[in-house]
C-alpha cells in the first residue's frame, strides 16, 4: 500500500509542473529514493570528467533529400553573402570603377566557355537559394509538410534552379 502511494506520487512528481511541489516530493525524506538533482551545467561537467563519448550523429545518419537541401540552402546563403562581401569590399578598396574592371576581365580572353561556366556558377547558388527560400516560406505558412510533398517540392527546387542557371548562363 505504502509502495503504491510512493510510486504514484513519484511519477506524478516527475510530471508535476509545480516546481515547489516537485522539489518537496522528490527530496522529502532521505530514507526514500535517492534522486540526485543536477543542473544542466553540473551534468555536462560530470560527463566531461567521466570522459563519456558522444553518440554518433552526422557520421551515421542517412543522407536524405530533405537534410541535404537544407544544408545546401544554408551553404548557398553563406556563399552568396561572402561573395557579395568580397565584391563590395573589392569595389571599396580598388581605385578604379566597376566598368573598368569589367572590361579588364572581359578582355582577358577566357573564351565563351569560361564566360558561360562562370555565369552558371554565379547564378546557380542564387536561384537555388531563392527557390528553396520560397519553399521555406510555404512551410512557414504551414503547408507542404507531408513526405510526398517535401520530396516533390525538393526535386522541383533542384530541377528549376539548374534550369534557371542554364538559361541565365546562355542568355
Amino acid at each position: 500500500m505504502a509502495l503504491c502511494l510512493r510510486l504514484a506520487s513519484r511519477s506524478v512528481a516527475a510530471n508535476c509542473s509545480s516546481r515547489i511541489l516537485q522539489k518537496s516530493l522528490l527530496t522529502t525524506s532521505s530514507r526514500s529514493w535517492a534522486i540526485q538533482q543536477y543542473s544542466a551545467e553540473e551534468w555536462e561537467r560530470k560527463n566531461e570528467k567521466m570522459g563519456r563519448p558522444l553518440s554518433p550523429h552526422l557520421t551515421i545518419y542517412k543522407f536524405q533529400l530533405t537534410s541535404m537541401l537544407s544544408i545546401t540552402h544554408r551553404a548557398t546563403g553563406m556563399g552568396l553573402h561572402f561573395g557579395l562581401l568580397g565584391f563590395a569590399g573589392a569595389m571599396v578598396l580598388l581605385p578604379n570603377s566597376y566598368p573598368y574592371y569589367l572590361t579588364l576581365l572581359a578582355g582577358s580572353g577566357g573564351g565563351k566557355a569560361l564566360l558561360v561556366a562562370s555565369k552558371f556558377i554565379i547564378s546557380w547558388p542564387f536561384f537555388f537559394h531563392t527557390f528553396n527560400g520560397i519553399r521555406h516560406l510555404v512551410w512557414d505558412m504551414g503547408k507542404g509538410f507531408s513526405i510526398k510533398t517535401l520530396y516533390k517540392s525538393g526535386y522541383a527546387v533542384v530541377g528549376l534552379s539548374i534550369l534557371a542557371a542554364l538559361v541565365a548562363a546562355v542568355v
Binding site: L5, A8, S9, S11, V12, N15, C16, S17, S18, L21, E44, R74, G77, M78, L80, H81, L84, L85, A88, G89, M91, V92, S97, Y98, P99, L102, T103, L105, A106, L115, K119, T130, G133, I134, L137, D140, A168, V171
Partner: protein
C-alpha cells in the same frame, strides 16, 4: 494518508490515469514550447516571435523588390535592394553563428566574438553596397553589365 490528503488540494495533481502512467500518450504538453533561439545566452528569456516575423517579412519584401528593381531601374530601388540583401544575409549569418559557434562548444568569448564579427561584416557590407550605389553604377546595373559583357 494525511500527506496524500494534503496533495489532493493542489491543482497539478488533477491528472488522468493516462497522464500519470503514460505521459507520452497525453496530448497536453507538460510545459509550454519555447520560441526562443538566443544568439547569446543572455537572450534566453526573450521572445523570438517578432524577430522571426521580421525575417519572413523581409524575405517576402526581397522577393518583391528584386524583379521590380531589374524591370524599372532607379537609384532608390538600388538602395532598397542593397538594404534588403544586407539585412537578410545578416540575419542568416547570425543564425549560422548562433547555431554553430555555441558557448559550450567554442567558449563564451568566441561565441560573442562571432556575433560581433557578424555585425561588423554586415555593417561593412551595407556601407560598401551603398558606396557602390553612390560612386559607381549601382548594384542592379552592375549585374546587367556583367551579363551583357
Amino acid at each position: 494518508m494525511a500527506l496524500l490528503c494534503g496533495f489532493r488540494r493542489l491543482p497539478c495533481l488533477q491528472r488522468s490515469v493516462v497522464q500519470v502512467t503514460a505521459p507520452w500518450l497525453s496530448a497536453r504538453a507538460a510545459a509550454p514550447l519555447s520560441v526562443s533561439r538566443p544568439a547569446l545566452s543572455s537572450q534566453l528569456a526573450e521572445d523570438h516571435v517578432k524577430h522571426w516575423n521580421a525575417e519572413r517579412l523581409l524575405t517576402v519584401g526581397l522577393l518583391g523588390v528584386l524583379p521590380v528593381a531589374f524591370t524599372f531601374p532607379s537609384p532608390a530601388l538600388d538602395y532598397a535592394v542593397a538594404l534588403s540583401v544586407a539585412v537578410h544575409s545578416h540575419w542568416g549569418m547570425e543564425a549560422i553563428f548562433a547555431d554553430y559557434a555555441r558557448p559550450k562548444r567554442v567558449g563564451v568569448f568566441l561565441s560573442k566574438a562571432a556575433i560581433g564579427a557578424n555585425y561588423f561584416m554586415s555593417a561593412f557590407l551595407l556601407g560598401a553596397l551603398f558606396y557602390f550605389n553612390y560612386t559607381d553604377v549601382g548594384v542592379v546595373e552592375a549585374v546587367k553589365m556583367l551579363w551583357r559583357a
